[in-house]
Amino acid sequence: MKDSDIKKLFYMHLLCIFSIILSTFIPSFFLENFSVLETHLLWLCICSVSVTAINLLLYFVVKPNVSSKRSSLSYKVARFLKCCIYFLISCLFLHVIFVLYGAPLLELVLETFSFAVILSTFTVVPCLCLLGPNLKAWLRVFSKNGVNSIWENSLQITTISSFVGAWLGAFPIPLDWERPWQVWPISCTLGATFGYVAGLFISPLWIYWNRKQLTYKNN
């Protein structure tokens, strides 16, 4: 493992964070009445799109994993479609999980679904970029001693921290402070965002500090 890799990872993550910050501030120049809390769904869409875009961009520029041997157009298209389907399925799956966790079943469906979209943007999209539509690889990365590179390691950290952030975001909902951000699902989406950002920050640092202990099969 080289230090340059960690540096690369760090800059990539900074870009991701920057994209989230931009998606919060840029639209207010173009759109009237734009604010994270009041036009929350709009913000969610913009944030989701920009994070996806920056992830794809970075993936194409950096290409952390060894590119597959087959590179025909039809294969790429099929792969892309498969990715889209995976993304959709993950959104639906998360939606179901939220409902099982106690989200309202019939009311606020759009809100719940957009929370599922933003959470899978933070978690599934990087997985798709890095590992491709390969469930086995995903499961491998998220098990003990399963990571093979710093990319996978950082993926593990950001994904877990996004989930933990979303989980923690549910805690303020019952409190009687009557703040606008306590409404479902705003606190959870904010929690997921903060968790994701924190994961982006933490993972390069963590990998840097533990670089002596980390040994991967590849290198």
Binding site: I97, V99, L100, Y101, G102, L139, F142, S143, K144, W167, A170, P174, L175, D176, E178
Partner: protein
């Protein structure tokens, strides 16, 4: 011996918790008996004629009325200094300008201009200084307590005699506007009422503006005798901003305008009372007993001259409840029966032009009436309850007798000196103050020492559980010394206390006795731990709970300290439970147990046995997790809403079927309920059959086969009657009502007899050798002598078991398809859990009857959920033979979480109005007459059903992993008949899994594991009750303490008691089965020898 000591140790630990709970409760919950006696207009409070001038006047009861109308303006949290006039003439000092000072200028103006018409008092209130308790005190003249023994928990309505009641019975029209707490306290008492919700403390204006909209029009209409306006803005402003905020100045100025407007509209016969119900702290909160909280303003004004003197420089300090007898006598109504306040004598002086003698006589008469009433109350109260000090009571009685003879003498010779009157007044006042002080002494004080002591005992007991549970599985666990020595110490503590009592001659307090005993043994334990453990062991053993589980527990405990989370616990618990479940699944995956690639191999110590393959492969655990989440979510559909959340809607399915209007709906729901009953029954029977426990001819098994369906039938029939009773034709009415009495009792009787049978013959094993019985063969063991000692038996039993399997297999090979064969030992593998499941099912039916019909769906879900959870947990627990067996912390935590979740999903809430009182009438439609313990038992069983079931079922956590062993690498196929099943098994299994017989292989470890499980369960429950107690202790002046924290503590405490008893019962049942299995084996060995 060992079994008994395990049970006794657990019972002793439970006792420690009980002692802590009792001590805390005695310091925290203010209790007094509530008398329902009423004062009556025609009945004077004591012997002798009614006093001075009251006879013959219309509308006069005990005393002639001074006013015919009164306007009571209650400004919530109007602290005394808010109303205090600001004197600017203090030399050398500029007046302090604070937002709340000097804003009530109209009071000051009136006091200066009309000194004989108005008076400002500083009224001292008794804690707890919460609005509802203050309103109770302000109308009854008594002390507020949290639990008024004898009151109806179902509503907040005041049952004691009070001003409002007296006013209505005197025919006065009461118009109320403001805080809707009054609606709960005095349902239907007002001739006209405008209630506004007091719920949202952040809203400063809704209530006040609502009152102002109606106040002046009502006043001008003249259709009232008593007008009560309860403003909340000042209080809410305090809670939101605190008193030091400009908003407070605005609010107070608004109140000033209100008072001004009222004063302008007052007529001559009207009294204006402006009062605060309590004060507020520097931060604007209230509820406790600090100086700022207990000081409230009280202002009286009348257009007619009231006082014979001008106001004193410094306002007089009076107890707030003085207002009650004063108002009663001024309005010419009887003083409420339970009043212990003292009349404000100045108001009876008769204005500024009255004669001094007549004025003093009037004051003395008012005081005398007041004293008669208090004396009557004291004798009635001390006849009904024993909590007043006898000595003081006698002294007071003597004082009263002396004062009353003085009074009567004065009345006979009215020319007596004025000084005699003054001494009489002093005597009467002394009596009244003494009575009040005595009552306060025994009723209304938080005892911080007791609360802290109780919390300390609870904490120490939790500590003990944690340590002892670590210690229990270590090999040298000293059962006997651990049991006997602490008992000796607790005896020593008790004796010390009794000795102290005999020295100081105080009354014996059982709570203190228990606390001293508990402290004695806990001190010994702590000392022992300190010396024996603290030094040698590393810190990691101090916290044996794994990190994530600790986090879950901490979150759960922290939630007890927030009123929002306590209110939202019904939603928070499933959330935590779901998180824990997903965490367990994720952990399984993380460790590679969820998916096939890594096969976990386990080696057993006995050399002959092959290795046990991993029990779970594939995504089995994942589906368990999803199923659990689904069940939790479905059970959440049956929640009842707490009152505090107006946006929430209670589940419509909690009402009984009888309340459904449509016939088709009712039938559908009835079908669903019966369906769930049948499903529950079928599931239990299938489970028992799966493990072969349905084949034995034992009476308990026969009961399961025939008694359970009968119980289900009885339940279904009872539901049919209960839901359709109103539609029955008249001639069948008697039959229906008779059946609705008999059916529930029959079901309960069946359940009880089933449990008895189970206890009598708990081993459901079929001893049936095939044709050509092999009883003549000898056991393959170097066994000598009869199996007298336990150790011999322990050694022999597994061998017999294995022998029987071998024999069975051998015969199978010989007689492959000849005779139907069954093997006894197979059923032994699940003998413990079969008894547990049977007992739980038997317990469920009576509990089911106590709930509304549709809750049966929840009970079905409950069984399903615990089944899934047990499987999921078993997936993560490796079987270690021959021990030590442990139940991991996550299992115990998940089990308690599920118990709490089921408490909510069976339609309960930890508040008194949510108690399902109808449960008391199941099987007793006519009520219970005078007995109270039976309805209390029924309601308690209804409320704490989930606590009981989960506590009794707790040993399943230990047993289940062994049970899952039989599921082997391939899923066992269900087969219809014996032959096929036997053939399949003989083909696919080399050796019959030992399952629960592994526990018998190591009985010492088994008992230690049971003890450990019990201690862990008590620990998790114990820290919950500790957290509740600490929350109530620390937040005792929180706004919600009497609404949220105190009820939560009470429910949690009773739940703890029920759970600990259930736990003991469950473990005792396992022990009983164990003993029966031992004796069964003993018989078998004897039979073999012959």
């Amino acid at each position: 011996m060992r079994k008994v000591s395990v049970l006794a140790f657990l019972a002793w630990v439970s006792f420690l918790f009980y002692a802590g709970i009792a001590l805390f409760t005695s310091g925290f919950l203010l209790t007094r008996l509530e008398l329902t006696n009423q004062s009556s207009c025609h009945e004077p409070p004591g012997p002798g004629s009614l006093p001075w001038g009251s006879q013959g006047k219309p509308g006069a009861c005990w005393m002639a009325s001074h006013f015919s109308r009164v306007v009571l303006v209650l400004i919530d949290a109007l602290r005394f200094d808010f109303a205090q006039p600001q004197r600017s003439h203090v030399p050398g000092k500029s007046p302090v300008s604070l937002p709340f000072l000097g804003k009530l200028g109209s009071l000051q103006k009136i006091l200066e201009i009309q000194p004989h018409h108005a008076r400002l008092y500083q009224s001292l209130v008794d804690p707890p200084t919460t609005t509802m308790q203050r309103l109770k005190a302000l109308t009854t003249g008594s002390l507020p307590t949290f639990i008024d023994a004898g009151s109806n928990f179902a509503s907040h309505a005041i049952v004691e005699d009070n001003l409002i009641k007296q006013l209505t019975s005197a025919g006065k029209r009461i118009v109320f506007m403001g805080d809707d707490t009054w609606k709960d306290l005095f349902p239907g008492a007002f001739s006209q009422a405008f209630f506004f919700s007091s719920f949202n403390v952040r809203d400063l204006h809704t209530v006040d503006n609502g009152i102002l909209e109606h106040l002046y029009p009502t006043m001008d209409s003249g259709e009232w005798d008593v007008l009560i306006a309860h403003f909340l803005g000042v209080d809410h402003c305090g809670h939101k901003h605190g008193p030091h905020h400009p908003e407070m100045a605005k609010k107070l100025s608004q109140m000033d305008q209100v008072i001004q407007g009222l004063v302008e509209r007052l007529e001559n016969d009207t009294l204006l009372v402006v009062a605060g119900d309590h004060g507020m702290t520097m931060n604007g909160d209230h509820g406790g007993d600090s100086d700022l909280e207990v000081s409230a303003a009280l202002f009286l004004y009348s257009p007619m001259a009231l006082f014979s003197s001008t106001p004193p420089e410094e306002p007089v300090v009076i107890p707030q409840i003085s207002l009650v007898p004063t108002l009663a006598l001024l309005l010419g109504i009887p003083i409420p029966f339970g009043n212990i306040g003292e009349v404000m004598t100045e108001l009876f002086s008769g204005g500024k032009d009255s004669q001094p003698y007549a004025s003093a006589l009037a004051q003395a008469s008012a005081l005398y009436l007041n004293a008669q009433q208090v004396s009557r109350f004291l004798s009635a109260y001390s006849a009904a309850a024993q909590d007043l000090q006898v000595k003081e009571l006698n002294e007071l009685q003597n004082l009263f007798i002396k004062a009353s003879t003085d009074y009567n003498r004065l009345l006979q010779s009215p020319q007596g000196a004025e000084t005699a009157l003054q001494t009489l007044i002093a005597e009467l006042q002394q009596f009244l103050r003494g009575a009040r002080a005595m009552c306060i002494e025994s009723w209304a004080r938080f005892s911080l020492v007791r609360m802290a002591g109780g919390a300390a005992i609870l904490a120490a007991a939790c500590f003990l559980c944690l340590f002892a549970s670590q210690w229990a599985t270590s090999p040298g666990f000293p059962f006997r010394s651990l049991l006997l020595i602490p008992l000796a110490w607790s005896l020593a503590g008790a004796i010390l206390y009794v000795g102290l009592l005999t020295v100081t001659r105080m009354k014996l307090d059982p709570v203190l006795l228990g606390a001293m005993a508990a402290t004695g043994s806990l001190l010994y334990f702590l000392w022992k731990t300190w010396t024996g453990w603290g030094s040698k062991r590393p810190v990691t053993t101090l916290l044996p709970i794994p990190g994530p589980v600790l986090l879950f527990l901490l979150i759960r405990l922290a939630a007890f300290f927030s009123d929002s989370f306590v209110v939202a616990e019904a939603r928070a618990t499933p959330f935590l439970l779901g998180s824990l479940i997903l965490f367990l699944v994720a952990q399984l995956h993380w460790e590679g147990q969820l998916l096939p690639p890594k096969l976990l191999t386990m080696s057993r110590l006995s050399s002959s046995a092959p290795t046990v393959p991993p029990r779970h492969t594939g995504t089995y655990a994942l589906w368990l997790g999803v199923g659990l989440l689904l069940c939790t979510r479905l059970a959440g559909l049956f929640h009842r809403c707490p009152e505090e959340t107006p946006a929430c809607h209670s589940s419509p399915w909690l009402s009984p079927l009888a309340s459904i209007v449509g016939g088709r709906d009712k039938n559908l729901w009835y079908g669903a309920c019966v369906g769930s009953l049948v499903a529950l029954l079928v599931a239990v029977r299938l489970w028992l059959r799966h493990y072969g426990n349905l084949k034995s001819p034992e009476p308990s098994v026969l009961f399961v086969r025939w008694g359970l369906p009968l119980m289900a039938l009885g339940t279904a029939a009872y539901w049919a009657l209960a839901s359709g009773a109103d539609e029955a034709p008249p001639r069948l009415r008697a039959l229906v009502s008779g059946a609705s009495v008999v059916l529930p009792r029959a079901v309960v009787g069946l359940a009880a007899s089933g449990l008895m049978l189970l206890l009598w013959r708990p081993v459901a094993v079929l001893v049936k050798a095939g044709v050509g019985a092999s009883r003549t063969r000898t056991v393959l063991t170097p066994f000598s002598g009869p199996p007298t000692s336990q150790a011999d038996l322990d050694y022999v039993v597994p061998q017999i078991y294995r022998y029987m399997q071998e024999e069975f297999r051998g015969r199978l090979e010989k007689t492959k398809s000849q005779v139907p064969l069954t093997v006894a030992a197979y059923q032994l593998g699940s003998v413990y859990s079969a008894a547990m499941v049977t007992a739980l099912t038997l317990l469920t039916f009576p509990l089911l009857l106590l709930h509304a019909e549709r809750i049966s769906l929840v009970f079905l879900l409950l069984f399903l959920q615990s089944f899934l959870l047990l499987h999921l947990l078993a997936a993560g627990i490796p079987i270690t033979t021959p021990g030590p067996f442990t139940v991991p912390w996550q299992a115990v935590s998940a089990w308690t979480l599920m118990a709490t979740q089921t408490f909510y999903s069976t339609g309960h809430q930890p508040v008194f109005p949510a108690i399902q009182w109808h449960a008391a009438f199941v099987g007793f439609p006519e009520g219970h007459g005078s007995s109270t313990w039976l309805p209390a038992l029924l309601v308690g069983a209804n409320t704490f059903a989930s606590h009981l079931l989960f506590a009794v079922g707790c040993p399943l956590l230990l047993l289940w992993p062994f049970l899952c062993e039989s599921q082997g690498p391939k899923k066992r196929r269900q087969s219809p008949g014996h032959e096929v099943e036997a053939r399949i098994r003989s083909e696919e299994e080399e050796e019959e899994p030992l399952m629960e017989m592994r526990l018998r292989e190591a009985p010492h470890q088994f008992h230690a594991a049971l003890l450990q499980l019990g201690l862990k369960y008590l620990f998790v429950l114990g820290i919950q009750i500790l957290a509740c107690a600490l929350a109530a202790f620390i937040l005792r002046r929180h706004l919600m303490v009497w609404k949220v924290f105190a009820p939560k503590f009470i429910f949690e405490a009773i739940g703890f008691i029920v759970s600990s008893v259930g736990l003991l019962l469950g473990i005792a049942l396992v022990m009983r089965v164990d003993g029966a299995v031992s004796s069964w084996f003993r018989k078998l060995v004897l039979a073999q020898q012959r």
